[in-house]
Symmetry: C2
Subunit: 346 residues, 2 copies
DNA sequence: TTGAAAGCGTTACCAT
DNA sequence: ATGGTAACGCTTTCAA
């Protein structure tokens, strides 16, 4: 860590002067100001948040208090915060603005505010991770990059989950299955790993089982009548089962099918991956779901990070958690004969 | 703020000894330990988190990094954290465990970790608020207690929202309306204000307009077939419009109505209060919604708290925000003649 | 305009 | 088992 004293030495001024330029507290001649600024830049100095807090008696931290109840604010945050609290740590929420996330990461990592970092919405190639490593900041990813070497992460085991689901479908006689994933191309999340990994795993599994699989990337909203059912009927009319990676899409799909006289799961089976069982229960029929183990992920990630901070093990924590199966009534045997979606083309 | 030195003086020991007993760092004779502990209790001492962080070079804070994207982690948290960051503050998430929330609040308020507090899920009578006041901790409620005198809060204007909605319904010819709210009796949120305030406002408004209004408190899940429609048909068969304070219930209701050959909004109008427009859009027909202005609430609350910390105004910030109307297709004129729910009783 | 030095509240090392 | 005291990294008053 670079201290103010080091900057002062390098700029050949007193520590007070550095403080003045850093905080703009008092006027400083342009020449000295520049010398100081140069030293700051060269050394990569960041003022220490804790020391500053102590000296000013101002932590500049505000707390968001929330009771732990079933109506939870957010499963990841709540579980991570709870695990942290149990170990005597606090969790600060640090919003990253899409334009210069990398810079913000470096700032946080070098400010001394936080000792370690939990990173959400990880992408295949993620500069934020590189920055964290460059700053030598302990971190645990909730998600994972493509390159995993030596990196700590807790993620959903998409591969395993897809394998399980496809196997189950095959066992029920399905030979033509479809996967619906979010299409993030063109958004800041274009390289977001989950849909990509899932699609890859899906293709691999259908190939392994020698059945037919089609992938449908859909943009954002899938409200009733958005045409997803038509698209599937058009491109893959033999489909008898849909693997939905967007829980919300289920409402629209079930609705549109019903509007065409088709019934779930008699004519088409639906399995949700990564959705929440709670929202699946609102659909009729209640959806067969493989739920994101969000609480466990948040807890494990926080614990892994803390373990690293306490210097427990040198081993990287690399945890893959399969989605939790929650039974519903949207999965059944494949209809006999060809898929019923065919009727839609008539 | 009570310091270690003060405890030491009172217990007639050195500051080191106090540190030893506080942290259990080194053995201390039972007698001195008791004297120190007594002094701690009497003075209400809490070790200062920032000083400790500086001395140990351990902040015991971990950060949760999350990009700001539409798929937001939680509207309240995200907006509050963003507003805080914009003002140079950080937001720490502090889970409260239902059994001794009051104690935890006091601990936080006196630890020097946070300068101010944002409190969620406020109840009519809320000991946490009293504790905050006793500890002289600046706070802003997201929600509000029954007694508002001098308290800072940002809340939904349920009264205003209900008045608007009822007026609109009356304008459309509805004379028999129902309100569905969550029944929290027996849970830790029993005294949670929103449903109570809404029900009160509802009763008042229907009385003012001289129309009929029934309130239906429902417990938790309202999945398809949970019987809510039956209950309404039974207790208030003339109902032509339902005001739903549980967004999720809409799926079940619409479904159950359809199962009985009734159509929204032809036979029954539905207006959601406090739900999210995004989930309302998943229903067919898309629901007419009065959405919680969550982002604005989070932002305003954080800003108000920071303003107080910076000592801006002595005036209490008391902001009431009406829910934002989002048009949908679940609201229409009252059916001519008596309400169609009647057919259900046949 | 700049510097010296006294805190801020703890911890932790070194004595006793 | 206890105490004295130098850090920790910064801010801020007071002098120069």
């Amino acid at each position: 860590m670079v201290t103010m004293q080091q900057v002062a030495d390098r700029a050949r001024v007193s520590i007070s002067t550095v403080s003045f330029v850093v905080n703009g507290t008092k006027p400083v001649t342009p020449e000295t100001r520049d010398r100081v600024q140069a030293a700051i830049d060269e050394l990569g100095y960041r003022r220490n948040a804790m020391a500053r807090a102590l000296a000013t008696r101002r932590s500049r931290i505000i707390a968001l208090l929330h009771p732990i109840i079933e109506r939870n604010i957010n499963a990841f945050i709540e579980s991570a915060a709870t695990a942290a609290a149990a170990a005597g740590y606090s969790l600060v929420v640090w919003p990253l603005h899409t334009d210069n996330q990398a810079q913000e990461v470096t700032t946080l990592a070098t400010s001394g505010m936080a000792e370690g970092v939990l990173l959400l919405e990880v992408q295949f190639e993620d500069e934020r991770v590189t920055r964290l490593e460059a700053a030598d900041a302990p971190y645990v990813l909730i998600g994972r990059t493509r390159d995993l070497a030596g990196r700590d992460y807790v993620d959903i085991d998409f591969e395993q989950t897809v394998a399980t689901v496809v196997e189950r479908l095959v066992g029920l006689g399905h030979r033509h299955v479809a996967l619906v994933v979010e299409d993030l191309a063109g958004t800041p999340l274009a390289d977001y790993a989950p849909p990509l990994r899932t699609a890859d795993a899906f293709r691999e599994e259908v190939a392994r089982h020698r059945i037919h699989g089609s992938v449908f990337p859909v943009r954002n909203s899938v409200s009733p009548g958005a045409g997803l059912v038509d698209r599937i009927a058009e491109d893959a009319p033999e489909t008898t089962a849909v693997l939905l990676m967007m829980g919300d899409a289920a409402f629209g799909i079930v609705h549109d099918l019903r509007g065409r006289g088709l019934v779930v799961p008699r004519d088409l089976s639906i399995v949700v991956i990564g959705g929440s069982a709670a929202s699946g229960a609102l659909v009729d029929p209640p959806l067969t779901t493989y739920e994101t183990p969000a609480e466990e992920m948040g807890t494990r990630a926080a614990q892994a990070l803390i373990a690293r901070l306490e210097g427990a093990d040198a081993e990287a924590t690399q945890v893959l958690l399969p989605c939790r199966p929650v039974s519903g009534e949207s999965l059944a045997h494949a209809p006999v004969g060809r898929g019923s979606l065919r009727v839609l083309r008539a």
